[in-house]
Symmetry: C2
Subunit: 160 residues, 2 copies
């Protein structure tokens, strides 16, 4: 079993978070966009766990850190972060999760554990390509794919 997609028991999240924020700084610098204080704080809140978090829960989390932005501010920041590929929106949950990958080959495929709530992502370039090819046979030219699997992760299944 591949052990990189899901964060497991020994996972040192403080380090994980630090790395993620560092990478975000780099990526934004390279892209010539600004990871402002607000945007970084929203990203920090989203990346606070590997579970899906809703916009209003982000506000609650930020309030605990002494900052309470208005919903629109959070949505604007999320919009930026999603555009930059730093955060994924989970359409089937109306919630968000930080991207743990460097870069994606294409659209992310999310795996959502129904038990513990942890969300992992994987590259599934070949499978998405096959899906697009299938769509083409119906005359459809796909530009984006929303692919969200819900099920049970290895940890919750006792496989780990």
């Amino acid at each position: 079993m591949l052990t990189d997609a899901f964060p497991f028991t020994r996972h040192d999240h403080a380090r994980c978070l630090k790395r993620l924020l560092g990478r975000a700084d780099e990526m934004c610098a390279r892209a010539g966009v600004r990871l402002t204080k607000l945007r970084r704080a929203v990203l920090r809140a989203v990346a606070g766990s590997h579970r899906a978090i809703g916009a209003y829960d982000i506000i609650d989390a930020m309030e605990r850190d002494g900052q309470k932005p208005a919903p629109i501010s959070v949505y604007r920041a999320l919009d930026f972060l999603v555009t930059q590929g730093l955060v994924h929106k989970i359409e089937s949950r109306n919630a968000f999760v930080a991207c743990c990958h460097g870069e994606h080959a294409g659209d992310a495929v999310l795996m959502i554990c129904e038990d513990c709530g942890v969300v992992a992502e994987m590259d599934a370039g070949a499978e998405l390509t096959a899906l697009n090819a299938r769509a083409e046979r119906h005359g459809f030219h796909a530009r984006h794919a929303v692919t969200e699997l819900s099920g049970i992760c290895g940890a919750c299944c006792g496989d780990v």
Copy 2:
């Protein structure tokens, strides 16, 4: 190109709708569940076009037919219809579309035209199986897949 997924120019929608409602009657009878007047009216509204329709637009459509159910009633009916596989929820749009297929091999794959708004579905059993297999390699046991492709349909591309 396969021409069954998307409803094209010559499409006789009155006939299409009638067939769909008839099939719904049969399927519910076979399943031993009740396609009540309300549920059938909601299905009729959803199946009124091949575009995604939101719950509140369903209410508006039904109001034009002299019936104005409360939101909760529509959501309850939609819940029933989705459970029976007669309607698909489009997670990426918070909207609904009637199922045009008899039965699905597995989860439906939706193709949403960004231009005309028409939503078509296809069976993509093999591709979804491949996706699940890929997830298994990460220790994830998928139970449901939300797969929504957005792009441009053949008609809007001038391919037809």
